[in-house]
């Protein structure tokens, strides 16, 4: 203690732990390692500072010392000067906890501290979290993708009206190329007027008759399958799930205690960010899909024609609005695909086999009434 504190008598409140009667005590610094407590009835005793049973807590307005087994004896001191020198003395002998250091640091500049914490959290959310989520997916075996996709497909198979003949033809069409080395894609043609297709994790790829009918070349179908197979090969669904789960965990960790408004704002921001990530995955599926096309001796320009077809249909038919939300067809995507096609060039030996297979899937003669969808959507 500072020497000026030695002489002073500090007012304190003493609870003896036996009754609820508070006692107005005075405290004096008797030596370096203890305080002398004097009670109103004249009784005095030593209060050791360096003892295992002695604990102290400092809140914003007071110091609380407690000692002994349950029920503990307690001293409350509100004298600010005393509290300051007491904390200095305890810090000197290393008896100040890390928490108190952080708290007093935070109190010295609450606004700056708050902004610092927010900046740290934002950085973690934007960079550390996605990185960790992606690493996590690498640890998950690909068989999990297959199991999830299989379960999802079994659940929705009831509602899908599969065209068995075309499914076989599409499988042959897909097998004629090398689209996804890590998985074995299973193709399905479903009778539905929607100009749409989707891929489930692990390999199920569903193509609606609506989009098949709009196609005019084998290259467009190959581009579509290459795009969807890239979703499977690059495990986009699993990555998306890992990302949104990590994002959700992150948020619930942070705002577990905070009110509904913060939760609402944070969850919407998270959803927006997932949507943004989803667009990134679409671009990746376009780009890698084009490389896959090239590797299979197909012209990467087919992707451009596919995207143009989708954009055309998107503006014509209102049913494809749902398609728009997951596949944002913008000029940007088409432009990017055109540029990539330019840099990849045209394959040396054009792939001829696919044309024949495509004819089986696209008989322009036997389905004249394509305006009347035969299945419910």
């Amino acid at each position: 203690m500072c020497s000026s504190e030695v002489e002073r008598e500090i007012p304190a409140v003493f609870y003896d732990g036996v009754t609820s009667k508070p006692q107005e005590a005075t405290v004096r610094v008797s030596d370096l390692n203890s305080l002398e407590v004097v009670l109103p009835d004249g009784a005095r005793f030593q209060w050791p500072l360096e003892h295992k049973g002695m604990e102290w807590e400092r809140s914003s307005s007071m110091l609380r010392l407690s000692f002994g087994d349950h029920p503990r004896r307690v001293l409350l001191i509100r004298d600010e000067l005393f509290i300051k020198s007491f904390v200095l003395r305890m810090r000197y002998t290393g008896r100040q906890g890390g928490y108190d250091r952080i708290l007093s640091f935070a109190r010295s500049g609450p606004v700056a501290f708050f902004l610092g914490v927010v900046a740290l959290l934002v950085c973690a959310y934007l960079w550390v979290l996605p990185w960790a989520a992606e690493r996590l997916v690498l640890l998950v075996p690909t068989s999990l993708d297959e199991r999830i996709g299989e379960a999802a497909y079994q659940q929705m198979a009831f509602a899908l009206k599969e065209d068995q003949g075309k499914t076989v033809a599409l499988q042959a069409f897909g097998d004629a190329m090398e689209l996804s080395p890590s998985f074995e894609p299973r193709y399905h043609v479903v009778e539905d007027a929607q100009v749409n297709a989707f891929a489930l994790p692990g390999g199920h790829i569903v193509v609606f008759t609506g989009i098949l009918e709009k196609m005019s070349s084998a290259g467009e179908l190959a581009a579509l399958l290459a795009h969807e197979a890239t979703h499977v090969e690059k495990r986009h669904s699993t990555r998306m799930m890992a990302r949104s789960m990590a994002g959700y965990l992150f948020l619930s960790l942070l705002i577990g205690d905070v009110n509904a408004v913060v939760t609402l704002v944070a969850e919407n921001a998270n959803a927006l960010r997932n949507l943004d990530y989803g667009r990134g995955l679409e671009s990746e599926a376009d780009g890698v899909g084009q490389e896959v096309l090239f590797a299979n001796d197909l012209d990467p320009m087919a992707m451009v024609r596919l995207l143009e077809l989708l954009e055309r249909e998107a503006t014509d038919v209102p049913e494809v609005l749902a398609f728009l939300s997951s596949h944002p067809l913008t000029e940007d995507r088409i432009t990017a695909a055109r540029e990539r096609a330019g840099s990849l060039g045209v394959p040396q030996r054009p792939n001829e086999r696919l044309g024949v297979l495509f004819e089986q899937l696209h008989p322009t003669t036997d389905q004249p009434t394509d305006e009347m969808p035969s299945s419910d959507n």
Partner: protein
């Protein structure tokens, strides 16, 4: 003492900025430790609230520590994992009967925890709370609480929810009447019928006034809680709690709170908490001449925080 107005003896002295710093530090540490700091954060927060709540100028104190709550936290997580794990294994077997049994076990299992959570939380929190060095305590029996919950739960089901008012008050009466402060004890005089009528009136008037009566309904609920609470002392004397809350008061409190939350995008949360605590503490008055100095320490320590943490994980609010 007759005729004297009820005295204001409770006070809340916390400042919003101070709570804000505590919460931000909690947030930082919880984040850095990937959530493991949660029990310590909870202990810090509770300590802060207790330390700034005063009766007759003396603060309350929360004795719970992060490490004992951490042990409870781990136990609670293990218990929930066991239940969910059993359910998931059941689902994976893909046999319909096993899945149905699993679902039943999960829901019944989770419901069966509620009395345990209430009982354990009350025991833990009260034992770890003190005022002037004397600890609070809860001496209710878990069996009795299960009996009340099972009986009233069934009656609530049979009456399609109407009995819920009696259920609430029966649980409240049983738990509050077994709360102690050293050698003194508490009692709750509330009764389900009165509480039901109060809710019926509140519900319809809120409907007719397009929601405006909600603040007065809130006042009635608060008053019903406070005005029926009695503090009994060994020498036969007692203190009655009296609420001075008003509908207008609740209106001002809640509307301003809402505005603070909206315009600060939630950052003003700490100030909202402080305003609410201050309003509550200033409006719980005391009437009676019992001697608060004469209470003697009686309660043992109870350091098992599992039920309290289980309540957190299951999102059950035991404390109102």
């Amino acid at each position: 003492m007759l005729g004297a107005p009820p005295a204001q003896r409770f006070a809340f002295k916390g400042k919003g900025g101070d709570l804000f710093v505590v919460l931000i530090v909690n947030m930082l540490l919880t984040f850095i430790t990937l959530g493991l700091y949660y029990p310590w954060a909870k202990a810090r927060k509770l300590s802060w609230y207790y330390e700034h709540t005063e009766l007759d100028g003396h603060p309350f104190h929360f004795h719970g520590t992060g490490s004992e709550m951490f042990r409870g936290f781990i136990k609670a997580i293990a218990l929930l994992l066991l239940i969910y794990g059993t359910y998931i294994v059941g689902v994976l077997t893909k046999e319909v009967t096993i899945v149905l049994v699993g679902i039943l076990v999960m829901f019944v299992g989770l419901l069966a925890f509620i009395p345990l959570v209430i009982h354990g939380s009350l025991r833990y929190r009260s034992s770890r709370s003190s005022w002037r060095g004397i600890h609070f305590g809860y001496r209710g029996q878990l069996r009795e609480l299960y009996r009340i919950c099972l009986r009233d739960g069934l009656l609530t089901l049979i009456t399609l929810g109407i009995y819920a008012s009696w259920f609430t008050i029966n649980v409240r009466r049983y738990t509050l009447s077994h709360m102690r402060y050293g050698s003194s004890s508490y009692a709750y005089k509330g009764d389900g019928t009165e509480y039901f009528l109060l809710n019926l009136k509140g519900y319809f008037l809120t409907l007719f006034t397009l929601g405006i009566y909600a603040f007065w309904w809130q006042r009635d609920l608060f008053n019903y809680y406070v005005n029926n609470l009695v503090w009994n002392f060994q020498d036969g004397k007692r203190i009655d709690f009296k609420s001075t809350a008003t509908g207008g008061g609740f209106f001002g409190l809640m509307v301003v709170n809402l505005l603070i939350i909206i315009f600060t995008l939630g950052i003003g949360f700490a100030w909202v908490e402080v305003r609410t605590m201050r309003y509550v503490m200033e409006n719980i008055r005391m009437e009676g001449d019992a001697d608060l100095n004469a209470v003697v320490q009686t309660e043992q320590e109870h350091k098992n925080a599992m039920a309290d943490d289980l309540g957190d994980l299951m999102d059950i609010g035991v404390f109102f």
